[in-house]
């Protein structure tokens, strides 16, 4: 994990690109749909979530591709360290360079959409819990699609349907807060999703990488 972070730190353009993409997508909607304040406040939470989801998705192909190409992935599977360890490490590194910056930036984007402060807080909280799940699910799909024909499109077909529940609950939390309901059920479900996927998916990522390098 520290190696991945170091690599990301030395080439910060990729993380910056992810964040810039997120900000751009979020800014396209007011321009395309119209800038009435009520409309923006209504669609804001959903747009931010879709933007975060797409940004996390676009960062996926790079998660394993370079290590697969230069053989370090194979070295990792041969190393004495358990697959669970380095798989979790790589996913955590992916989240730190994609999910975390988006979470930090989301209140700023939310302000552009005229969301109220407590909605902003719930939105950021839902992103904080939800984006790691995206990294975990996406990591498993990226590992499965290593070396497959049809690269990016295939990855989209695999990952995006699995992202759907996270999107629903994530956007639902901020939505509920904005309409005066409690966001707690949505956040609890997201948290349950995070725990379940944190337990199961690093193992699946390890298995998928093993299949890929065999």
């Amino acid at each position: 994990m520290s190696r991945d972070l170091q690599l990301a730190w030395r080439h910060p353009d990729e993380a910056v690109l992810t964040v810039a993409f997120f900000a751009l997508v979020a800014s396209l909607f007011p321009l395309g749909i119209g800038a009435e304040p009520q409309l923006l406040a209504r669609i804001g939470p959903g747009v931010i979530w879709v933007g975060a989801l797409l940004a996390a998705f676009l960062a996926l192909p790079g998660l394993f591709a370079a290590d697969y190409a230069d053989g370090s992935l194979e070295q990792m599977t041969l190393s004495p360290h358990p697959a669970l360890g380095w798989a979790s490490g790589k996913i955590a590194a992916h989240w730190i360079v994609s999910g975390l910056p988006l979470t930090v930036l989301s209140p700023l984007i939310g302000l552009q959409y005229g969301l109220t402060p407590d909605t902003l807080a719930v939105e950021a909280a839902s992103l904080l819990v939800g984006t790691p799940v995206l990294s975990l699910l996406g990591g498993a799909c990226a590992a499965l699609a290593l070396g497959a024909r049809g690269g990016g499109m295939l990855l989209a077909l695999l990952a995006l349907p699995l992202f759907v529940p996270i999107l629903i609950f994530g956007a639902g939390a901020a939505e509920a807060q904005a309409t005066g309901l409690s966001p707690a059920p949505h956040l609890s479900l997201l948290g349950a999703g995070l725990i379940a996927s944190a337990v199961g998916l690093p193992w699946a990522v390890g298995a998928a990488v093993r299949i890929a390098v065999d």
Partner: protein, 241 residues
């Protein structure tokens, strides 16, 4: 008795060839009986009129869409755990039929929803999760065929299918967990809230769908076996004969 006799593609090829035609015949007979019961005998519903009769297609296909995914995932688990060849071929053979049933369930649901709910599609929990199931089938098939080495496609797609199993309980319980437009089930092991001929028609149609799924899977698995084993001696002998 050797339980593993038919786990070899060459022996299963013959068995599948013998089992497929009776399955199709049974499917056709049951479908004729089920449609007669459903369209001719079953009484018209007091609230929905004749529109409800779409359930004779909709419910069996929806059941099969989930059940086939479960069967496919079981074959996938066998593939990953025991590294068997035939189980992966069976999983590949099931997927298109499962996707077809999922699509028909969504399609007939849309045609039922138009006169009853007033809309073809709503973003209801059950409809959304069933749509996700359709994309899982598509993703499985795409991933299985995305590699030069078919064995790698088998194992990668098997893992994907197993991850996707999470979706099945979501579909099944969605009408209880979320209070949305799609109504709950009228059938349970404790009894039913339906007229008895309606239930009979639906069950007969379900068995018909089941038989069709078995027949279609067996025919397809024969094609997969031939394609995979085309360099094996027994397939060459088959071609020469």
């Amino acid at each position: 008795m050797n339980w593993f006799y038919f786990s070899s593609p060459s022996t299963f090829y013959g068995l599948a060839g013998r089992l497929a035609p009776p399955s199709f015949i049974l499917a056709a007979v049951l479908a004729a009986a089920g449609l007669y019961l459903g369209l001719g005998v079953a009484p018209t519903d007091a609230q929905q009129g004749a529109v409800y009769r779409v359930i004779f297609i909709h419910v069996p296909t929806a059941w099969m869409s989930m059940f086939l995914y479960f069967v496919m995932a079981c074959y996938c688990a066998l593939t990953l755990v025991f590294n068997t060849r035939l189980s992966a071929m069976m999983a590949r053979a099931i997927a298109p039929t499962g996707a077809m049933f999922t699509f028909v369930a969504l399609w007939t649901g849309a045609f039922w929803g138009r006169p009853t709910w007033g809309t073809y599609w709503v973003w209801d929990a059950r409809l959304t999760s069933e749509l996700v199931l359709l994309f899982l089938y598509f993703g499985y098939m795409a991933l299985a065929n995305a590699f030069e080495d078919p064995r790698r496609g088998d194992r990668a797609s098997a893992l994907l299918a197993i991850i996707g199993v999470v979706n099945l309980p979501i579909i099944y319980f969605s009408v209880q967990w979320w209070n949305t437009l799609h109504q709950g089930s009228s059938v349970s092991f404790k009894g039913t809230s339906m007229h008895v001929t309606m239930l009979a028609g639906m069950l007969v149609m379900s068995f018909s769908a089941w038989m069709y799924a078995i027949g279609a899977t067996l025919v397809r698995v024969r094609a997969v076996i031939l394609e995979r084993e085309r360099r094996a001696q027994w397939v060459r002998d088959l071609g020469a004969a």
